[in-house]
């Protein structure tokens, strides 16, 4: 290396304090708090939106009280009115096979543009699961892309360089061509004329849009003639980025131009539920007196009050329009503003696009507006969800239509809440009856090895371990039974298995095994090192959709899918894996009952404690 590290240190020492301050503050937002610790104060409610339909979704009321009691830490532990989380699951239509989308075939796009004869050769695989229809609008200096539901998925402005201190005159950009139905993204080109001081310049820009960003993948400009993209390259070294190489070949004097585009893209979409803080949602409509009982005296002015320990700023709309500190507040709070995203969604994986809200989580867009005063602008989206009748969610995003941890959120009781009459009193009927329905959960404890079933000479080391205890919360009505007869499922290791029943119906099997804890790097734990015996087979593998639910320095519990391949092509069952590195043991739960849904499995996993 031909540089001086000391020199670089000096350079970095001169970094602007504002930049280092902001970065440090962002780093404090590390999302390493286990999901189950965030809002798990009560029973959870799962709402499953029907894929692409607005039909009434089935509701599932899961367990969680005992799970929460076990997990312990909560953001607001000790508050009597803490409510259970609400879980909005992604659409069932996105199976694990569809979530990893890789473009691996080609289409050719050809369009005679008069001056241009354009051929675009794009390798891709169309996925019918992704809404791929977009409308591209170019006006002034903006490109706005809306999907077929009118949701703006992205917008961008041209970034014009100043020339000689003057802003070039830009004619309205003209869309040259577009490729629609391009899976989750879209490819299009824009040409525009510029002129300054009598000198004209013309440019062609090729863009690729996905659900979160516009990538400018090639641009060239010159005076007097259009020069299309010569070469653009964005290398790939990740799981969600683009790789393209654009070659330009001129056909000489015929003024015909062709593009040869090799475009490769991988899109990873994770099926993760959105966990909504029900405690927060339940505060809509509460009276000032009720808030005082919960948090103590409020403070603030105008139309919003803050409470120590509260979530944001709580809004009333008195007739006078202005709320004075000593004003007696009538009615209920009709909106909560300035909610931190981490307090609305627990452990969400960002970014979540507005498209995701609509198509994956069943939210309904109500009103959308963009401001583009600066390069990115902000974007406000109001949404409803069928599970929360009368409640709207307003997201103000820094990136257009992209919800991340910087997004500002407001929730309100109705769409006109800013002008609405205060709610007379807290009315629980604002929530559908079935959301309030609660199921009890029961804590169970099992000691492993539970029996000598499966013990053999080759498994002597497994059965000679110091017994350990598994604590777990199961839905009410579930019972357990130590297996006396051979299971022979070929799926679990069959080490002193315990069967779980829902009534008379067998639903799952719990099993255990041992592993070498030294193979797990505590700084970078790899679940495959723990469960390697379960993941190596091509006939039965637990290595599908592995998603940790909670973890500590020494343990992790996760949900997963179990693939089995027998006479039928492939079957998938739900499963739970959990290990304790200090003890060198792990447990497996195989759900043979396919009617046990994701959220039940998820909540059971969140309750697992091995000690």
């Amino acid at each position: 290396m031909n540089f001086s590290q000391q020199f670089w240190d000096e350079v970095m020492d001169g970094i602007d304090e504002k930049l280092t301050d902001r970065a440090a503050e962002r780093m404090t937002r590390a999302g390493d708090v286990p999901l189950s610790d965030d809002f798990a104060d009560g029973r959870a409610v799962e709402i499953k939106p029907a894929p692409r339909k607005k039909s009434k979704a089935p509701l599932f009321i899961g367990i969680g009280v005992a799970a929460a009691a076990i997990v312990g830490i909560t953001l607001r532990i000790g508050m009597e009115s803490v409510q259970p989380p609400v879980v909005v699951s992604p659409s069932e239509s996105e199976t694990s096979q569809d979530t990893d989308v890789e473009f691996d075939s080609h289409i050719t796009f050809h369009k005679d543009m008069g001056d241009y004869d354009i051929n675009v050769d794009i390798p891709y695989r169309k996925s019918s699961e992704f809404p791929g229809y977009y409308d591209i609008d170019t006006n002034e200096n903006n490109i706005t892309v809306t999907d077929k539901n009118g949701v703006i998925v992205s917008s961008s402005s041209y970034n014009h360089a100043m020339v000689g201190g003057q802003q070039p005159m830009i004619s309205t950009p003209e869309l040259m061509f577009e490729v629609l139905e391009f899976s989750s993204g879209n490819l299009f080109a824009v040409k525009m004329d510029t002129a300054i001081g009598g000198v004209s310049a013309k440019a062609v820009t090729l863009y690729y849009i996905d659900s979160t960003e516009i990538f400018m993948i090639g641009k060239n400009a010159g005076g007097g003639d259009y020069f299309p993209v010569i070469t653009g390259e964005i290398s790939i070294d990740g799981d969600s980025f683009t790789c393209c190489e654009i070659n330009y070949t001129s056909t000489g004097e015929t003024e015909k131009v062709s593009y040869d585009v090799d475009f490769e893209r991988k899109v990873l979409k994770k099926r993760e539920p959105l966990v909504l803080n029900r405690d927060l949602l339940s505060e809509l409509g509460m009276t000032y007196t009720q808030f005082c009982e919960k948090y103590g005296e409020g403070r603030g002015k105008l139309n919003a009050l803050s409470f120590d320990g509260g979530y944001g700023r709580y809004g009333w709309k008195p007739e006078s329009g202005i709320l004075f500190e000593d004003m007696s507040l009538a009615g209920g709070c009709n909106m909560i503003m300035g909610i931190d995203m981490s307090e609305l969604f627990a452990k969400a994986t960002y970014p979540i696009t507005f498209n995701d809200l609509v198509f994956r989580y069943g939210f309904e867009p109500v009103s959308l507006e963009a401001t583009t005063d600066n390069y990115w602008g902000t974007y406000c989206g109001r949404f409803r969800h069928q599970g929360f009748e009368g409640v709207y969610f307003l997201f103000v995003t820094n990136f257009l239509g992209v919800i991340d941890e910087t997004t500002n959120c407001t929730i309100g009781l109705d769409l006109d809440c800013l002008e609405a009459t205060p709610v007379a009193s807290f009315d629980e009927t604002i929530y559908p009856e079935n959301i309030r329905t609660k199921y009890a959960a029961t804590k169970h404890s099992f000691t492993f090895p539970a029996s000598d079933y499966g013990k053999s000479e080759s498994k002597a080391d497994i059965f000679s371990i110091e017994p350990f205890e598994l604590s777990i919360s199961l839905p009410e009505g579930w019972t357990s039974e130590i297996v006396a007869e051979r299971v022979d499922s070929g799926i679990t290791s069959e080490n002193s298995p315990i069967k779980l029943f829902n009534g008379d119906k067998p639903v799952a099997t719990i099993d255990f095994n041992v592993f070498d804890p030294t193979v797990v790097n505590p700084d970078s734990p790899d679940y495959r090192a723990v469960y390697n015996q379960l993941m190596m087979s091509s006939i039965v593998s637990w290595d599908y959709d592995y998603a940790p639910v909670k973890n500590t320095a020494d343990s992790e519990a996760a949900v997963c899918k179990i693939m089995t391949r027998d006479e039928n092509p492939v079957n998938y069952h739900r499963g739970i894996l959990a290990y304790n590195r200090a003890l060198g043991v792990y447990i497996t739960i195989y759900f043979e009952d396919v009617d046990v849904d994701d959220m039940t499995v998820y909540l059971i996993a969140s309750s697992v404690i091995i000690e």
């Binding site: 290396m1 020199f7 280092t20 301050d21 070294d237 990740g238």
Partner: protein
């Protein structure tokens, strides 16, 4: 506890200020120090030294961002400690930065480090806040890619990709200003 309240405790010379500081930012400080020193005990020592420096500097100083100020002090303390030892962990960072760090044999004669810092500051202010924060977290605070990813909600590879794009743009930016790479 809010930062303002913690600073107030410092001004009151209340030792609970340090406890609150540790409670709120201890993990982050430890991570920053550890990423430089690659040793848990050394990192603890650096963090404690940093706390002492913060204690001695507030008051009279009243930082706009307590978090940023503290992290910078931790980082500088750790680097100082690191300089007294063998350089270890940061060599990887320098390898990443080789593509944009000026050739010191020629550059140091022509450009003061301060000038290049200014260029980089200007450049970073033009980037998106997220990309700038990722860059600063990586190369100023020496944060690990997965830690950055966890903080900003991106995968490690996505962070890596953003860094690569930022470095590439920075290299071009510096070259345009005559900085010999």
């Amino acid at each position: 506890m809010q930062d303002g309240n913690i600073i107030a405790l410092f001004f009151e010379r209340s030792e609970s200020a340090l406890a609150e500081l540790q409670k709120k930012y201890g993990a982050l400080c430890k991570r920053i120090a550890y990423n430089i020193l690659s040793n848990s005990e050394d990192a603890d020592e650096a963090v404690n030294t940093a706390y002492l420096r913060v204690w001695n500097s507030i008051p009279p100083k009243k930082p706009e961002s307590l978090c940023g100020y503290l992290c910078a002090v931790v980082r500088n303390t750790a680097l100082t400690a690191y300089d007294s030892m063998k350089r270890r962990r940061t060599e990887q960072l320098y390898e990443e930065l080789a593509e944009i760090i000026p050739d010191s044999r020629t550059t140091e004669r022509e450009f003061e480090s301060r000038q290049i810092s200014e260029y980089i500051n200007t450049f970073l202010h033009k980037q998106s806040a997220l990309n700038a924060d990722i860059f600063v977290s990586r190369y100023f605070y020496n944060m690990r890619l997965d830690d950055i990813g966890a903080a900003v909600g991106l995968s490690e590879s996505a962070v890596k990709m953003r860094l690569m794009r930022t470095r590439s743009a920075l290299r071009k930016y510096l070259e345009e200003r005559g900085v010999d790479i």
